[in-house]
């Protein structure tokens, strides 16, 4: 199997396992799911040692996006702790 296919397969298994386990535990916080996906994405990237330059560039863009999303999740949690405002509920309205 090609390394690229292995990477996607590994990520797919990890994401599916996260969704199944968290939903079985009754987890309702979407930011927790996204944080786990971010962590799993970076773990898979670390296991896959090197990419072609063009792929590495696109992967870096995805990584930057994940970093921004993760920062927003952390910021939302900080706001929730400090001001008691739950951002996710505001989004759903």
């Amino acid at each position: 199997m090609e390394p690229e296919a292995k990477l996607i397969l590994l990520m797919g298994i990890m994401f599916a396992a996260t969704v199944v386990i968290f939903s079985a535990l009754g987890e309702e916080r979407l930011d927790l799911y996204v944080s786990m996906f971010t962590l799993e994405y970076f773990i898979s990237m670390a296991l896959h040692r090197s990419f072609k330059p063009k792929v590495a560039l696109y992967m870096n863009i995805i990584s930057c996006f994940f970093l921004i999303v993760f920062s927003l999740i952390v910021a939302a949690r900080v706001i929730e702790i400090l001001y008691g405002v739950y951002i996710w509920d505001m989004l759903r309205l």
Partner: protein, 278 residues
Amino acid sequence: MKNEKWNSIRLREGVKLTGNNAACLKRALKLMSQRRVYRAVSSALISSGVVMFTLAFFILSSTTLSALGISMIILGFVALAVSAGFPRIPDEASRLILESSIRNSSVLIEELGLRSRAVYLPSKLADGRPMALIPLISNPEPPKIDKPLPKRLIVRYGLKQEDVGLLMETPGSIAAEMFEKPSEHTTGALESSLSALLVNVLGVVDSVKASVDGSTIIVELSNPKLTIESEALAYEVLGSPLASTVASLAAEALDRPIIIEGEEQTRNRLLVRLRIFG
């Protein structure tokens, strides 16, 4: 060709995939380049992920399905990024180009009557990139090269009159541009660098094992995908394309000239024996 067209038309009509049609799907997938397969998968994942997330988050208020949608979007984007790494040239065209290049090298080698094994030089001895030097006169001992050779086809590498050779680029010379030179000259570092390039970047083998014993390096390549059945003279002098690439990269990694002592091809692996000297 007619048959392939007929197969793809049958597929597009959505006929039940049994018997001949299953073979038809297999063939159609084979005909599609990997790039297109990955692109098709990524667009399917992204579009279905977006639809699932929108429905689950805004209408159904289901966290589990929203998370599933997000994971599909992420996987879709990763597949899209990975698809950029697949070559635009079809496999068959690449094989033709490689074969013609080997044949041209063989003609040149035969015409000049070269019989000695090529010496793979690191970039510091070959003006910027690792090259293969084929000495005109075959000696039992490989030539000693102390200073960088000029970037020409016919070069003089020693003080004697017969110290003349052919300086050629090999697939490894170009692959070296993508090669992460190991910081230390250990077996582990060499194996890791070779593996990163040959397995992950070029995808020509499934795994690489290297062992250094004194001046001998043994590199074991499992499941090589770059095998061309040929009796070309270039193989005798330069080695097979894979062995040649490994030799160039090992020379670059260790910063020392290397020759291919031999290669052994078994069913699923290629064993390349290299000798370091100089």
